[in-house]
Each structure stands twice: as structure tokens, then as C-alpha cells.
């Protein structure tokens, strides 16, 4: 309860936590998956587990784009970057994600032209400013980010810009949730639904989970109170034996999503028949490829890549952690060979990765507790 005083409206937090304890049936184990990496970060940062009874377990989901990207894709992207005419651009999150022969940052140190951008629109501007070079944007992200990439590609086509392309690693959240539900070693009672993905896709795409799988889905905001309120909403549903989609994050997420964003995605992208997710294997129709009509701006069609599948380092158990089978600290490498400074697996790279969040906050808390603070 140490952190409660720091929250806005601590009294409401305390009341909501009490309501959770009241609703949680002590005879029952509740396994709730927070799908989004932003939620994972918030849960660790705010120590929300301390506010929950022991029989409510939060399982960390696959909603961290850099974490689920298989190593082979990074290697393919970096292989394209090795062409001296190419400028490889990516978000800062990608820079320390290890490939089989090092991360983008390590390649940059070896002299490969790799640059951080904060927006795909800036990669496009870079192409305009460097007409003799080819600028490739290594695109990652869920439905939150895909519309921005799509609009950028639409602009490249409108401008007739020929020295720009994207390498699409965009993934879609719903098939990953389906894969989790289909996985034999998973037992999830309900989902805390992603917040910002849902600003784009809305709440309807989750309805099949409620209707067919009988699992409640509550789209949630990121504040401590949001997450606790979402847990209350889930427990009420579970106790009543019903399964519905509810929107706790109404102040930001419209039920129908963002039509303009969905239209942009549909204009530029098509579903791949399958795509590999780190730790989860191949999931059908779970990622976005550039449509034929934009083939001239599709790095995968412009540059030949090996498409090789690269296995993760043997000792790392990223897959089990990603699926929620293992807790981050149960991985053999956690905090030893694998740390945020020298990550072996991608879950240790991003602040939204379960391992980095666990390392940063849990270890500090353990230290504080053991130091009597």
C-alpha cells in the first residue's frame, strides 16, 4: 500500500481496492490478462499487485510491439540496411532490440547508416531531403501505429516519391488474443483490453471473445484507478457469470473506433496469411503486409531478404514469459545475463516489456523492503 498516497484521489483508490477484495471469491483463482504493454508498465510502476488479493493474478500479455517481433525480421531489416545506399530509419524503441548479429544500435556503431525517427512522416521527409539515397522505415506497432505508417505511404505515393519504402512488421491484436485463448497451457478468465489500440479499432472487435469464448473484456485506461476499476468491472461480470465487452476508458476510446484510421490501414495494408510472433509461433492473419497497389514502396518487394527464421537464444525463456506461463523473474537469465542495459531478449528492452518493467520496479521494491524503507 506504500504507493497509494502518491496517486490522484488516494481515497478512491483505497475504496476501489476494498471493492475488489470484497468481490473476489476466496475459493476462486482469477487469472486476468492485461493485453497491452502500457498496462504492464503501469501495473509494475504503481505496484498494483500489492493492492490485489492473492487469488487475483495478472498475466502479462503480448501487447508490446518490439517484444513480439521475431529476431529474423530484425535481421532481414538490417540486411537491407547493409546496402550503402540505404538509410535505415526506426523508432528509438527498436534500437537496442537484439538481432542474431547485434542490435540496430550495434550496427550503427559499425558504420551502417541507421537513424532514429519519432514519426514515419519524418522518414518520408528524410527521403525528400536525400534524393540520391533510399530511405527505409522499419515499421512496427499494433493498430495504434499502423494508421500513421499507412498515411505516410499514401503521401509517398501522392508525391511520387520513389526513394522511400517501409518494411512492415505491423501486427494486429485480435488474432494474438485468439491464439492465447487457443493455447493449451493458458487459462485466462478475462482480459483487460488495450487502451490506445482501441482508439483505432474500437470495442466491437472484442465482442467475439465475450460471445464465443465467454470471457469478459474491459477496455481500460492506464492510471492506477483505471486499472483497478477495470478489475472491479471484470470481477462483477465473472461473479454474475456473464461475459461482455465494456469500455472503462470512455474518455478516450469511442466504441466504434476511428473510421479514418481504419480506412487508411485498409487502403495500404492487407492481412498476411501468417506471421511469426516471438515466443508464440506462427499466428494466422495476425500481421499487415503492404498491398500490391503500394508495392513500389514495400521494402520486402524492393529488396530481396532471406526471410530466415532465427531461433531465440536457447537459455532465454521469452516465449514462456510472453504467454504468461512463466513470470519474468522465473526466467533463468532474468537479472543475470539479461538486464535492460544488456538485453538478451526483447522483453527486457522496452519499458512496456514485462521483464524490463519487472526488473526496474520489482527489484527496486525488494531492495527498499529489505532495506527497511
Amino acid at each position: 500500500m506504500k504507493f497509494v498516497d502518491e496517486f490522484r484521489d488516494p481515497e478512491l483508490i483505497t475504496r476501489t481496492a476494498a471493492e475488489i477484495r470484497r468481490l473476489a471469491d476466496p475459493q476462486r483463482l482469477y487469472r486476468l490478462m492485461e493485453v497491452c504493454g502500457g498496462h504492464t508498465h503501469a501495473i509494475y510502476r504503481f505496484g498494483l499487485k500489492d493492492l490485489l488479493p492473492e487469488n487475483i493474478e495478472l498475466v502479462h500479455g503480448p501487447g508490446c510491439p518490439v517484444c513480439v517481433l521475431p529476431m529474423g525480421r530484425i535481421d532481414d531489416g538490417l540486411a537491407i540496411a547493409s546496402d550503402p545506399n540505404v538509410i535505415f530509419t526506426a523508432f528509438g524503441d527498436m534500437m537496442r532490440v537484439p538481432g542474431a548479429h547485434g542490435s540496430p544500435l550495434q550496427h550503427k556503431a559499425r558504420g551502417v547508416d541507421i537513424r532514429i525517427v519519432y514519426s514515419p512522416a519524418d522518414a518520408l521527409k528524410m527521403a525528400q531531403a536525400n534524393p540520391s539515397r533510399h530511405v527505409m522505415f522499419f515499421a512496427i506497432g499494433f493498430e495504434t501505429t499502423a494508421p500513421s505508417t499507412a498515411l505516410t505511404l499514401m503521401r509517398a505515393r501522392a508525391l511520387g516519391l520513389r526513394n522511400f519504402s517501409i518494411f512492415s512488421n505491423h501486427v494486429t491484436i485480435i488474432p494474438a488474443m485468439r491464439a492465447i485463448l487457443d493455447s493449451p497451457d493458458m487459462r485466462i478468465d478475462a482480459f483487460i483490453g488495450p487502451g490506445h489500440v482501441s482508439t483505432v479499432i474500437g470495442c466491437r472487435p472484442y465482442e467475439w471473445i465475450a460471445a464465443n469464448e465467454h470471457k469478459p473484456v474491459v477496455v481500460s485506461g492506464f492510471e492506477p484507478l483505471d486499472i483497478l476499476q477495470s478489475i472491479v468491472m471484470i470481477l462483477r461480470q465473472l461473479n454474475e457469470g456473464c461475459a461482455e465487452v465494456e469500455n472503462q476508458y470512455r474518455r478516450v476510446v469511442p466504441w466504434e473506433g476511428n473510421r479514418a484510421a481504419l480506412k487508411a490501414i485498409d487502403e495500404v495494408f492487407k492481412l498476411r496469411s501468417y506471421f511469426e510472433w516471438r515466443g508464440m509461433g506462427f499466428i494466422s492473419q495476425s500481421a499487415l503486409a503492404v498491398r500490391e497497389s503500394y508495392a513500389e514502396w514495400d521494402a520486402e518487394q524492393i529488396f530481396p531478404t532471406s526471410g530466415l527464421r532465427v531461433t531465440d537464444p536457447k537459455a532465454a525463456q521469452c516465449g514462456e514469459v510472453l504467454k504468461g506461463v512463466l513470470k519474468p523473474s522465473q526466467c533463468k537469465l532474468f537479472g543475470k545475463e539479461c538486464t535492460p542495459e544488456m538485453p538478451v531478449g526483447a522483453l527486457m528492452v522496452s519499458s512496456e516489456g514485462a521483464c524490463a518493467a519487472c526488473y526496474t520496479y520489482e527489484r527496486r521494491r525488494h531492495y527498499l523492503v529489505s532495506a527497511g524503507a
Binding site: T145, L151, V197
Partner: protein, 113 residues
């Protein structure tokens, strides 16, 4: 990665291009507003910005809460770094460093609390 940064639209593009100048705690950057055009976003409106694109129109209260949440998450500096990075297409890491001190201007509380 999925940072959603609240900002206030201060000026719409004069031409047909769908962009606006958005103010994020004193940092002003060009942001694409195609995705909120249907919602009729204009000067004075608050939007959530992600990788240089406005994703949704929100209320001022929600915007201030979102800023505080980023700060509570320890993401305020990353958010400002992202915003100050918009429009940067070359290695210009030094020229914008002064802007980061704008972080001090992070608001202290919601307007009516």
C-alpha cells in the same frame, strides 16, 4: 512505444494539407491531423498525439490527466523527447536539447481540482 501524448491545437495549416501546430507543454510541433478531421478538430481543441499523428480528440480534463499519468509512469521525459524529435530528419541531437527543460512547465493539477 504506445505513448499517447496530449497536446493543444494552436494553429491549423493554411493550405490543404491536414496538419496543425500542436502545443505540448510549451513545445510546438507540426502534427498530422488527418485522423481527427472527421471530429472537426480545430484551434483550442486537445488531441492525443502518437508518432506525430493526432489519434483522437479529448477533453481538456482528460488531457491534463493524461499528462500527469505520463509523469507518474516516468514517461514524461520520453514523451517530450518524442515531441521534440518530430520534424527532425538529420542528426541534430544538440540543437533541441534546450527544449527538454520545458519539462518544468508540466502542469501541476487539473484545472478545476
Amino acid at each position: 512505444m504506445c505513448l499517447a501524448i496530449p497536446g493543444k491545437i494552436v494553429e491549423l495549416s493554411a493550405g490543404p494539407e491536414p496538419w496543425a501546430i500542436v502545443d505540448v507543454v510549451g513545445l510546438r510541433r507540426r502534427v498530422d491531423i488527418s485522423l481527427v478531421a472527421e471530429e472537426g478538430a480545430g484551434p483550442g481543441d486537445w488531441v492525443l498525439v502518437h508518432v506525430g499523428f493526432a489519434m483522437s480528440k479529448i477533453s481538456e480534463t482528460a488531457a491534463i490527466e493524461q499528462m500527469q499519468m505520463l509523469e507518474m509512469l516516468g514517461e514524461a521525459a520520453s514523451a517530450l523527447e518524442e515531441v521534440q524529435g518530430y520534424g527532425r530528419t538529420e542528426h541534430q541531437t544538440d540543437t533541441h536539447q534546450a527544449d527538454i527543460h520545458q519539462a518544468d512547465a508540466w502542469p501541476a493539477g487539473p484545472p478545476d481540482s
